[in-house]
């Protein structure tokens, strides 16, 4: 039976930008492509668009399936669809693979027009601001002046924040979920260990592994295993795996024994099969550099004073990668800047990953907030209201 709350079968599209673009670092890309998906229908005055910004390993395939027999739906399918909190009956939803990504948008594995070979180590380092810049170019292409909402979790939430500061008039609502106003030394430390795992893998070849017909699998796998630990909570991990042994007894060796080892290795293997090592480096670096207060004397409230959007900030109690305190920093800055903001701290055992999970209060919150947004930009016809 088809799921009436699914967007169904979807197909990605590609937007080609054939002019050079200057990046925040000063580097120039001669041209680029963005791959994206859309769900729902853009209304007549193009006011009902929602942009979904993805996190470190995310992409444009946010909801629905590409083939009927796809094992998994898009990465936020529980949130987006007809009648779901991000309701595609009322909103036009856009998922985009960020520049530098490895799911179809121009990235390190793409062919450089200058050399005819993959960019590899020559692909420029990106900032969150560059993603926002290129997302805005895509919005222009689609005829969207102002987004009803820009929504993101984790690194995606940082993009929503950046949007609200850089393009205040283009964001009605910013939903910043499980995010942070900047990384702590601990966050950067984790990222650097992940990067070192990749960079010191002999198969990395300084980033130009494409020409050697190999990928730095070991490094990427370790990076993902490390990252994955930070996405889960101690409680959640304990609940799911505890000290469970695969064979029920100690083997006195270094093969997989504990279930948690097996799980992490599986996650690492799966990830290293499809994710590009250079993209991983880029994404973690963009995270490290993100600090919108930097150009405002370190005063986040001053940065947020630029915004015109209304904000919903959400955190999860067991998230220690971007703990509730980090969200409260954002909320405090918004309060000091006298902006409209609501903040919810959702009880969850799922750590940082909770933002991707289905959870009744969390989804009720998103549904309640976005129903108001829909009423503002795309009111239901009178008879449907009763």
């Amino acid at each position: 039976m088809p799921d009436s709350h699914s967007v169904g079968i979807v197909a990605p599209q590609t937007a080609v930008f054939d002019a050079p673009i200057q990046l925040a670092s000063g580097a120039v890309l001669p041209r680029f492509e963005l791959v994206y998906e859309t769900y729902g229908t853009l209304n007549a005055d193009a006011s009902n668009a929602i942009l979904i910004c993805h996190a470190l390993s995310g992409h444009h395939h946010v909801a629905g399936r590409h083939q009927p027999d796809d094992k998994a739906a898009g990465w936020w399918d529980n949130m987006i669809g007809p009648g779901k909190p991000i309701d595609t009956d009322r909103f036009f939803v856009i998922g985009v693979n960020n520049l530098g990504g490895c799911h179809g948008s121009t990235g390190p594995a793409s062919i450089s027009p200058d050399t005819g070979t993959p960019y590899g180590s020559r692909f420029p380092v990106l900032l969150v601001a560059d993603w926002v810049h290129t997302q805005a170019m895509l919005a222009d292409r689609l005829g969207i002046r102002q987004f009803a909402a820009i929504i993101g979790g984790s690194l995606g939430g940082m993009q929503a924040l950046r949007w609200s500061i850089t393009h205040p008039e283009r964001v009605r609502h910013a939903l910043v979920i499980a995010s942070a106003p900047k990384l702590t030394a601990q966050n950067i430390a984790f990222n650097d260990v992940a990067r070192q795992a990749i960079i010191t893998d002999p198969d990395f070849h300084g980033g130009d592994f494409y020409g050697f017909d190999t990928v730095p699998r070991r490094g990427l796998r370790l990076a993902r295993m490390l990252g994955h630990i930070t996405y889960l909570s101690d409680d959640g991990m304990g609940e799911k795996f505890g000290r469970m042994l695969r064979s029920g007894e100690y083997k006195f060796g270094y093969d997989v024994e504990f279930e948690i080892e097996s799980y992490l290795r599986y996650q690492g293997d799966k990830f290293s099969d499809y994710f590009d090592a250079n993209t991983y480096l880029l994404m973690t670096k963009a995270l490290d550099y993100f600090d919108p207060a930097r150009h405002y004397g370190g005063d986040l409230a001053e940065a947020m004073r630029q915004a015109q959007a209304r904000f919903l900030v959400v955190s999860f109690t067991t998230d220690w990668r971007f703990a509730p305190d980090r969200s409260r920093e954002i909320v405090k800055a918004l309060l000091d800047a006298k902006k409209d903001v609501s903040y919810a701290e959702i009880e969850s055992a799922h750590g940082h990953d909770a933002f991707l999970m289905e959870d009744a209060p969390y989804h009720a919150l998103m549904r309640g907030y976005l129903a108001r947004v829909a009423d503002e930009v795309n009111p239901l016809p009178q008879e449907a209201r009763a």
């Binding site: 903001v341 209060p361 129903a371």
Partner: protein
């Protein structure tokens, strides 16, 4: 924070009488902080009828969802932490409705209210109400409309009378700038400490720095 008094049936178009009175005290266009705002009924009413902008603070997630669903800004937090995040004089009014009797550090919360707002508004069940006195005379802890709990399951730990509250304001160096006492939703002007079961008090810092 859940209030100690049950709200009227859901969907009632009218505000609870105490909220209604608060609504009348608050000037058009003011900035309001509502501590323990519940489902956001007061702020929603104020936004519609008085162009008020503000925030609610609420710990209960169902309340937070209700606020957000009606377009009221709400910060999910306990009251102490909720207050601490605001700068001095951020608001024209800070409201604490039917919550104070369940709080631990009442002096602290009143001082904080007077710090972040120009005017504080507190509502509380009046323990001096004659029905409460009568039940105590009969040898029982009072249970009534405004105090609907038994002694063993009550969240309320700090009851006071209208007169007690005035004394506390004096002790804290604050000025009572208005008081209304209600009984069953109607205003009581004769012997309010005896005949009223619900008190609303407006206060300010005596000297503003």
């Amino acid at each position: 924070m859940s209030t100690a008094i049950k709200a009227p049936a859901a969907g009632a178009p009218e505000l609870r009488p105490d909220l209604n009175q608060i609504g009348h005290w608050i000037a058009r266009g003011a900035r309001v902080l509502d501590l323990g705002c519940g489902d956001g009924a007061l702020l929603s009413w104020l936004a519609t009828h008085k162009d008020v902008r503000g925030y609610g603070v609420e710990i209960d997630v169902d309340g937070v969802v209700a606020c957000i669903s009606r377009g009221v800004n709400v910060i999910q937090s306990n009251l102490e932490a909720g207050l601490a995040q605001f700068e001095d004089d951020s608001f024209d009014y800070v409201v604490l409705s039917l919550t104070i009797q369940a709080m631990h550090n009442i002096e602290g919360i009143l001082t904080e209210m007077a710090r972040v707002g120009r005017t504080g508004i507190v509502t509380f069940p009046n323990f001096g109400y004659w029905e409460n006195r009568w039940q105590i005379l009969q040898g029982r802890m009072p249970v009534s409309e405004t105090i609907p709990y038994e002694w063993y399951n009550t969240p309320n730990i700090h009851f006071c009378t209208v007169n007690d509250f005035d004394q506390l304001l004096i002790k804290l160096g604050m000025k009572n700038t208005g008081r209304v006492v209600l009984a069953n939703g109607k205003r009581v002007d004769f012997l309010p400490n005896l005949l009223g079961n619900l008190a609303l008090v407006r206060f300010e810092r005596e000297t503003r720095s």
